[in-house]
Structures are given as structure tokens and as C-alpha cells.
């Protein structure tokens, strides 16, 4: 038998006699996409997790090199499809930084509202999917009840439910639907009425807590060293909310808290996301009645040309820090574009935290890392 400390300290565990090497994925119910993990097991204990990526790699970075600054934003919706708005937002911000355009106040507020709605929708889906990984099916449907409402709101304003493509350089594509405010308020009412079910059904469940607490511990130092971001680092007690540290749009004027937990285990990461939903609701409540009048889009040229140089923006998606790095040669298309996706770095920590735990825990950890495979593969 292996002592857990041996497994954790040995960087290059190689399969030995009696070990079982299992392919989890590319098609597996718990990976929620085409993630391929090769795990080395001793009985039920995990010795090593090795991710193999690329099953959904579309080389978005290469694709963007031949698309104009207006076009490439639409491709990025397909990266982290659960926070499509925020991806688009990051790209639009980066282009705006290069163009140095001022965005009208109305557009800023609409963007932040959309971002926060997306964040809630993403966390709802995560909550349901994670509970399903743990073997509880019911939460998935409860989560979708609220998520559908958000998707309906999105559909009304953006014309799409998942890949919205609503943000454009200079603002948003069109004004919000007349029903937008009313329906968002209805959603807030629904959310407040139903959110206690989440705690009753999952958070307070003794089996759930036993499955989560003390599982997949990630120390604050490791969280930073592995380049984790978003709820994963905040679960370890490291302040990493880009909205607070490097505020963009109007986040510095809003009243919301950065959620921090000190546990570092799966349960802390879980609580972060649950509490983040409350914070997002708080932001939406502040803004929904205060959408300023005015233009929803700044005047920009039909053909955008970024000056020669390098532009980097960071935004906080539902999964963590998304960086957009544009290298411009002065043309209408980016010379090189790099998306620093949160999922990619968050995945790299999986081997570190999974060693020495059981297969069931691996699933719980993957759930709390909130992996979205197209975001990892890009």
C-alpha cells in the first residue's frame, strides 16, 4: 500500500505492478465535455492524474489572426460558452483600449448587467452539474429552473441563449429589450424565493458536506503558483477578483464584496460560488433601476484599425481571470492574439490536489474547479 504522502510528494509517479491505469474520457459522464484524463490508480486511490487535451481544440487564436477586430469577438463566445458575454466583453475592452474610445454610460451599465446575469447563469449550471457529479440528480433541474429565466432574458435582448455576441467594440450591439428591466426584476424575485432550496437540497446535506469538506485541499501558495484564478483561488483565501483589484467598466463604483473563504477545500470553492451568486444579485439590484439614458454604442469607424502595439485586458469570468492579449501591427486584423483562459490554469492544479484521494473525490474536485472544456482547449 502507498502512503498518501508518498503519492503526493513524488512528482513523476509511474505505474507499478498492480496499478490500474484508467482513461476517464474523452467520453465520460463526469467530464462534461471531451476532456481526457489518464489516471493511475492503486485500488481506489489516485496516484496520478494526467490531462490529455485537444479533442475540441479549434485554434481560436490562429483563427482570430485572419478575422477583423469586429469579427473575432464572435468566435470568442465559443470559448467559455457559459460566460459568453464576459468573453466578448474582454475582447471588446481590449479593442477599445487600443482604439481609445469612450464607452457611453448606458452601454457600460448594460454590459455589467449582462456580465452578472451570465455569471449567475454559469454558477447555476455549475451547481447543478456538480451535484450531478456527486450523484444527486435533482439539483440539476432546480438550477435549470432559474437558469432558463436568465436565458429567456438573454434571448429577448440578444437574440441568442448561449452564444450571445452582444458586446461590440464601443458598446453593445443594440439597446435592451423594453421588457428587460421588468423581467430581470421578476428573475430577482424568483431567485430570492427559491435560493433557500439550494441550501436545503445540497449545502446542508450531511453526505454532501462529508464528500466536500477536506477534499482537494489547495493551499494559498499553491493556488497562486499554479496560476489558478477566480473561485478556485478565492476558496483558498487569496484575493483575486479582477473586478476589485483592477476594476474595469463601472465595477469600482458598485457596492459588492469580494467573496473569500479560507478552507481551501472543495467545500470552500463550493461556498464561494454560492455566495458569488448573491453578490451578483446585489450588483444587478443596484443597476437595474439606474440604467442611464443615452447611446448604447459609441461612434466607431466601420473598419477598425488598432495602432501598432500590444494590448492586454483582464476580466473576471465566472471561472476566473480571462486575459486577452492582442499584438497589433497596425492592420485591420490582430497580428497575434492570446487568450489566457482561466480553465487551462485551473485544470493544471487537478493532478496536484487529486493525488491520494479516491475516484469519487476526483469527480468532486473536477466539479468544484468548474472545468469548461472548450475554454481549456480554445
Amino acid at each position: 500500500m502507498y502512503r498518501q504522502t508518498d503519492i503526493i510528494s513524488d512528482a513523476q509517479v509511474s505505474p507499478q505492478e498492480g496499478d490500474l491505469v484508467i482513461n476517464v474520457g474523452p467520453q465520460h459522464p463526469a467530464t462534461h465535455g471531451v476532456l481526457h484524463l489518464v489516471i493511475t490508480l492503486n485500488g481506489e486511490t489516485i496516484k496520478k492524474v494526467e490531462p490529455h487535451l485537444g479533442y475540441i481544440h479549434r485554434s481560436i487564436e490562429k483563427m482570430c489572426e485572419s478575422l477583423t477586430y469586429r469579427q473575432f469577438i464572435y468566435v470568442t463566445s465559443r470559448m467559455d460558452y457559459l460566460s459568453a458575454h464576459i468573453n466578448n466583453h474582454a475582447c471588446a475592452l481590449c479593442v477599445e483600449k487600443g482604439l481609445q474610445v469612450e464607452i457611453p454610460a448606458r452601454a457600460q451599465v448594460i454590459r455589467v448587467l449582462m456580465d452578472e446575469l451570465t455569471r449567475i447563469a454559469s454558477h447555476e449550471l455549475w451547481w447543478g452539474a456538480m451535484a450531478m457529479d456527486l450523484g444527486a440528480f435533482t439539483p440539476f433541474f432546480h438550477a435549470f429552473r432559474e437558469r432558463e429565466t436568465i436565458n429567456d432574458i438573454m434571448e429577448e435582448t440578444c437574440g441568442a441563449r448561449l452564444t450571445m455576441n452582444y458586446m461590440v467594440p464601443g458598446g453593445v450591439m443594440q439597446d435592451v429589450h423594453p421588457n428587460f428591466q421588468r423581467r430581470v426584476k421578476e428573475f430577482i424575485q424568483l431567485y430570492k424565493r427559491k435560493i433557500h432550496e439550494y441550501d436545503e437540497l445540497v449545502t446542508g446535506n450531511i453526505i454532501f458536506q462529508n464528500r466536500m469538506k477536506g477534499v482537494g485541499y489547495l493551499s494559498p501558495e499553491d493556488a497562486v503558483a499554479y496560476g489558478c484564478s477566480g473561485p478556485v483561488t478565492r476558496g483558498s483565501g487569496v484575493s483575486s477578483d479582477i473586478r476589485k483589484i483592477y476594476p474595469y467598466e463601472i465595477y469600482d463604483k458598485l457596492n459588492f464584496d469580494e467573496v473569500l473563504e479560507s478552507g481551501g477545500d472543495s467545500f470552500a470553492r463550493y461556498m464561494i460560488r454560492i455566495r458569488e451568486m448573491h453578490e451578483s444579485i446585489k450588483i444587478i439590484e443596484q443597476l437595474i433601476d439606474n440604467i442611464p439614458e443615452g447611446d448604447f454604442q459609441a461612434k466607431t469607424k466601420a473598419v477598425l484599425k488598432l495602432p501598432k502595439g500590444e494590448f492586454y485586458t483582464r476580466v473576471e469570468t465566472a471561472r476566473g481571470e480571462l486575459g486577452v492579449y492582442i499584438v497589433s501591427e497596425g492592420g485591420t486584423t490582430p497580428y497575434r492574439i492570446k487568450f489566457r483562459s482561466p480553465g487551462f490554469s485551473n485544470l493544471s492544479v487537478l493532478d496536484h490536489i487529486a493525488r491520494g484521494s479516491k475516484i469519487g473525490d476526483l469527480v468532486a474536485m473536477m466539479g468544484t474547479l468548474d472545468l469548461v472544456i472548450p475554454d481549456i482547449d480554445r
Partner: protein, 152 residues
């Protein structure tokens, strides 16, 4: 630390580095041979304490490759960009995966996409590309895939 202070500090640590402050953050260009030493100092020096490598990538300039490291400090909240010019035909640079562990994963991506050889990397294998991938590196500018790429 502000940009000015960083500039002075870096100039102290590595006089050979070229500094460029036109962008949002301080850009430091270093020789690939000096990189590992500088990286250690950036990580350990208590006034700098760059513990968070948030972006690691490479740019193909057709004549040469440039490695770009975006660093940030979770303590001091300052950022810096380190660049290193590599020979396009034989790109080699020391790995920093021992200093920032996230680099291990990101360097594997750069390795297969740009063909940069990271010296002393513990596990330099293909990550995204399929096993047995032969030929050019997809993100280089001269990469052609007649089957899957559409020219606009």
C-alpha cells in the same frame, strides 16, 4: 511598486535588460540566457515578489520568436512583462516551471504550438496536439493546413 520604481529595481538586478515603458506595464527585454536568473530574483525578492505568472505565450515575428511572460504580484499588485527574443530556427529557453508551477502547463502549450524547446522542463510532451504529431507548429505564421484552414 510603481512603474518607475520597478524600472530602477530591474535596472539594478539586470543592467543588460532593455526597458520599454510605452505600454500599460513595464516591458523588460532580456537575453534567454539571463532569464532564469532574473526569474528567480523576480519571484524571491521581497520588494518585487512576482508570484503570479498569469500569462505565458509566444509571438512569431517571422524573423524571430518572442517569449512573453506576464507577471503579477498578489502582495504588491504590480505587473511586469518580460520578453525574450529567441532564434527562430533553434528556439531554446530555460523553463521556469520550477519557479511558477503554472508554467509547466503553459510551456507545454507553447512547445507544441511554436516549437520552443524549454530546457530542463520536467515533462515536455504534447498536450493539445494528438500523439505522434509531426511537422510544423500550428501557431507559427508559416503553418499551412490545406485541409482545415480556410483563407479569407
Amino acid at each position: 511598486m510603481t512603474k518607475e520604481e520597478l524600472k530602477i529595481k530591474i535596472a539594478e538586478l539586470l543592467p543588460a535588460a532593455t526597458l520599454d515603458e510605452t505600454g500599460e506595464w513595464l516591458n523588460v527585454s532580456v537575453d534567454p540566457n539571463d532569464w532564469l536568473l532574473l526569474a528567480q530574483q523576480l519571484r524571491t525578492d521581497p520588494t518585487l515578489f512576482f508570484d503570479y505568472l498569469f500569462c505565458l505565450t509566444c509571438i512569431d515575428w517571422k524573423t524571430h520568436l518572442t517569449m512573453v511572460y506576464h507577471l503579477s504580484s498578489t502582495k504588491h499588485r504590480h505587473n511586469i512583462v518580460i520578453k525574450s527574443k529567441l532564434d527562430r530556427n533553434k528556439p531554446e529557453i530555460e523553463t521556469v516551471s520550477a519557479i511558477w508551477r503554472t508554467a509547466g502547463f503553459h510551456e507545454r502549450e507553447v512547445y507544441e504550438m511554436f516549437g520552443v524547446n524549454f530546457l530542463n522542463h520536467p515533462d515536455l510532451r504534447l498536450l493539445i496536439l494528438p500523439d505522434g504529431w509531426e511537422g510544423k507548429n500550428p501557431l507559427r505564421k508559416d503553418f499551412e493546413d490545406t485541409v482545415n484552414m480556410i483563407k479569407l
